[in-house]
Symmetry: C2
Subunit: 141 residues, 2 copies
DNA sequence: GTACAATCTCTAGCGACTAGAGGAGCAAGA
DNA sequence: TCTTGCTCCTCTAGTCGCTAGAGATTGTAC
């Protein structure tokens, strides 16, 4: 029943690298597992689930602190999921604002590149734009 | 003519914080300036230009290593600006790919939030989605 | 003279890992 | 049984671009 696996197997099962698993244990995202006689970590099915949850949340861009809260909430099935919803919405806001900021940068960098006439650096519009902020499309950055 | 200023004045003129200026000197983006008798840094007009260039490039998201190259190129007016153009295009590619990645995340997180019925955590679709990657719209993350 | 502001150097911290050193354990083949 | 080679262990330090703080010195205004 209790078929325990080594850290390498857990790594292969979840796609999370071995040092990262140990790191997660160090920061308290994963509980310290039991050890073998030879002091090796032994993981069961629960660890697989928890680590997959962590990995997926990280892939979706959640920060470790948010994941810590989500894991905590996931263990209290009776509670309202309002907090979960709030965490997800907060994360969505952060993604959206990063996209907005990057899009503004993109426009600026594109216009800089378009202005480049491929001549000498002395007349390079890219260097010029970098030197003089006032040449920018938008001043707010 | 040679009206030199202290680091605080340079900071105010460029909008770059004092510790950041010292940091830039430490990593070689700014040359070590001359010092006063009391060992304080003294900056001239060239430092203002160079620091403004750095600041602007950072605001546009260029990495320090790229800025180092750009500064280097800016000092060789006779050279072709092909390299400058390449650096800017590379940066644009990185911005674009970050936007794409974030947009994919946004879609995923949005759909997760929409599925939430605001009930108990036991039935929370957000927790559920995080637990089971296969519930995702796209599997490639 | 005496506050107080500005500057100096140095070290450590952020987030989320990643890389490497140096050593021990373990399974399979000769 | 021995050896080879893989996996695992702990610990430290590095990544990037700063930022924060300690503790000392210098400059300035009253």
């Amino acid at each position: 029943m209790t078929d325990l696996m080594a850290i390498g197997d857990l790594s292969r099962k979840t796609g999370v690298k071995v040092p990262t698993i140990r790191y997660y244990e160090g920061i308290g995202l994963l509980p310290p597992p039991p050890r073998s006689e030879g002091n090796r970590r032994l993981y069961g099915a629960k660890a697989v689930d928890r680590l997959r949850f962590i990995r997926h949340a990280r892939e979706l861009g959640f920060e470790v602190e948010a994941i810590r809260e989500l894991l905590d909430l996931a263990e209290q099935p009776q509670r309202s999921c309002a907090k979960v919803d709030a965490l997800a919405r907060e994360h969505l806001r952060s993604i959206t604002s990063r996209i907005e900021r990057l899009t503004a940068l993109k426009v600026e960098v594109e216009s800089m590149i378009k202005a480049c006439a491929k001549g000498r650096i002395a007349k390079c519009r890219i260097i010029d734009t970098l030197s003089h902020h006032e040449h920018c499309l938008h001043a707010e950055h």
